[in-house]
Symmetry: C2
Subunit: 365 residues, 2 copies
Amino acid sequence: MNKLPASKIIDLSQPLTTWCGDRLTGVRLVYESWGEPRNNGENTLLLFTGLSPSAHAASSAADPEPGWWEAMIGPGRPIDTRRFHVICFNSLGSCFGSTGPASENPVTGHRWRLDFPELRVEDIAGAAAQALDDLGFSRIHGVIGPSLGGMTALAFLLRYPGRARHLLSISSAPRALPFAIAVRSLQREMIRNDPAWQGGEYPVDAPPVTGMRQARKLGMISYRSPEEWAERFGREQLAEPDPGFGPRFQIESYLEAQADRFVGGFDPNCYIYLSRAMDLFDVDDHAGSGADPFAALSYLDSAAVVGVDSDILFPQHQQKELAQRLEGSGISTAYFDLPSIQGHDAFLVDGERFGPVIAEYLQTL
Amino acid sequence: MNKLPASKIIDLSQPLTTWCGDRLTGVRLVYESWGEPRNNGENTLLLFTGLSPSAHAASSAADPEPGWWEAMIGPGRPIDTRRFHVICFNSLGSCFGSTGPASENPVTGHRWRLDFPELRVEDIAGAAAQALDDLGFSRIHGVIGPSLGGMTALAFLLRYPGRARHLLSISSAPRALPFAIAVRSLQREMIRNDPAWQGGEYPVDAPPVTGMRQARKLGMISYRSPEEWAERFGREQLAEPDPGFGPRFQIESYLEAQADRFVGGFDPNCYIYLSRAMDLFDVDDHAGSGADPFAALSYLDSAAVVGVDSDILFPQHQQKELAQRLEGSGISTAYFDLPSIQGHDAFLVDGERFGPVIAEYLQTL
């Protein structure tokens, strides 16, 4: 599917055995990078993404379009590319060039669709780890992950002890809790119930737009906060309110605009796979014979956990648990509990709050 | 539509002019009552309902089935029917016997459906006020309303000064804020986007079940709290998880069961009308020439506002605003901020917390 101008391609040299035991051959990941690598990854920061972003986290000479974390990555920015080499893969299972339900199954020559094997967060981490091997970055400086990316960072560190020295977890969590599972389950249901979904067999040019629009709107409801919307929209009505049951309030028009921007950009089957992978992640599944999985992370030199108090999808108490358990394993851990009203999305939009603490943490490394 | 065994009928003696200026003739309300009235309503408590309940708030000799507020109403219960006469109407616009989008338009002989005029919370209050007149209860003791019912209670007291002396508002709010509007807007969209809705013209025996199921699930997400679900369901998986994208976690199965119980019981067009009416309610629309609408309520002898700290749909700060503004108008106001984890639905399911404070308040009257 979509491949952005600055994207590079890595075709994994080895088949990938998934967390559930399936075997994927011909795995391709698309990635972008910023800054210059030193000594096989000694200054490399691996950035995992949330559910829907591509590898285009920031602009570059090859693609001057602003990336999804533009304010955070670049020369002199909080993730300073004069010092660090930053690499970001489009996740396994996503649809911006990497292998996933929307890519071609090399065995059949057709799109994978629902024949794609069960995807776990551990597989997103595993594909990236293999890609780093193939690229020659066998040991890296640190792993950064917001949202789903933070789960993926944990999976990476648990599966590949010693491959990175630092963790920066942003608005993430050690596991999915039932409120978040309920939200995502309903999002998937909206897509699957859209007649245009056709059991996953929709034509490429006729995806289930209605279901995707609704899923995005529910996403926005869970990504932002009631406080932000109360301040930003209040009860403001539209200049031309719909006389029927269409948009009458500003907030409804905002959700329409968000849905407009989303549909067409993301493959519905990929969305469903990645969404379910989030539900299935639990750091304690890595405990093995009752041990504390965080004990296995004690090789880390440091960690930082950043979150906001208005996040309803990855709530504050989960950030705190993560920070406490890292600290409890003897890892020097910084915990930043930011007072932003912008909810889960604050890491994308509240650069004023996130920038300084990310810069502060990275400067200590 | 559905009329329960204990239901009584009142056909309004006068046409109803709606808040938006439409004229409804032949308005019928279904109601139930408990306890014995004295002196034209001197001991009468008028109970307004939330969005989806019928008039069957409690059991009676005529209908021993438990009502939706069974634990709260009856002899010796917090709303003690040995002392009070309690009357509950099925709301105008609802579908349990009262006039609404699912009832017959007396002019055409067909169901109203989307030809029903715009419904406001003020109209639910207005129909009940006319019904009370026709029943001979011109001045009553108090008004009680949970959720939408609390908004309706405010509308009643604002429109008909002096008709009641006390207000008990439960998990309600002085206006709809954008988070709640967003949730309800998406619920309506799910129903309206269900092809079976057919622009509101679905056959009576083939309603848009898929849309209603989804709307109910989103309702549950907003009615309960993440804390309750974390305690109750955690990450428990089903004994027989769906191998595809169907229910795998206990929380998903719970939502399925809630959807099963809801569909078929509520008319989709009525749902849409009542849902929109909630969005449109704002106590400050009653200000008139800039005055404080609460000043117009100063005739009340007392009020009580009860809510819970985990309510995300009618949040704590809105309860507090309501209590403060009532108190600010010189009305003796009790404010109960209950530490329940059961969210907006706590008033329905957490009788242990709500019962004592409701009893305590009513005993002071």
